[in-house]
Symmetry: C2
Subunit: 144 residues, 2 copies
Amino acid sequence: MPKLTFSAKAHSENPIKTIVQARNFKMIVDEPANLGGTDDGANPVEYLLAALAGCLNVVGHVVAKELGMELKGIEISLEGDLNPAKFMGQSDAERAGYQELRVAIKPDTNADQATLEKWLTAVETRCPVSDNIGNATPVKIELG
Amino acid sequence: MPKLTFSAKAHSENPIKTIVQARNFKMIVDEPANLGGTDDGANPVEYLLAALAGCLNVVGHVVAKELGMELKGIEISLEGDLNPAKFMGQSDAERAGYQELRVAIKPDTNADQATLEKWLTAVETRCPVSDNIGNATPVKIELG
């Protein structure tokens, strides 16, 4: 299959708030007041959770269809912890980002346990966003 | 520093479109028509780009302040390619997600080249989202 390319352009509205444009969609990324922002949008690491949730929904339905598994809907809860010390320049003892992501996915289905486990394994492996978070992905940042 | 926890809840509005709630923010994740969606929002891998852009802006300003580097603003371009074959269940030859991310970051500054390079290295290392994408992060998905 031909590769798909996705892109976005962004600019700082202020030191904390970022306006991102991807195709015809504008996304506002900010921080809550206790992290120095004006709370005009979800923050970067919450956007990461949204990316993962959206991906799991799409792939969950693709895989269910392949398995002949009825799927009326999906609910997903996601959370992660991070230590802001590295980001704030106070310590390198722990990594900058989420230390792990914990996701609970609740499919509305009558499928049996064996099918559900097969489904979950395939979803996790084939979701582009869980691949990009779960496995190292080169991030090549250059001065523009 | 105490760890920070971030969380989100999501549900499928349909097999492609996902509604994500993080604190008081609702994010709509969808796909364009050519990928089977109704194009009501950016897609999951575009959300990933937004997460990275927002993070680079915040960390860019934190690091600039530490370096005493004047920074009037930042523009960021981001792109990546992925092969949909694995996601679609057609081939395991290539990974599911972005094969790499290419980012051009353009700071509005009068800083000299040496300072800029120091700045860029610190930003890349300390940005939580570039850490989570650039390095493996455990994604623990369980049936809820």
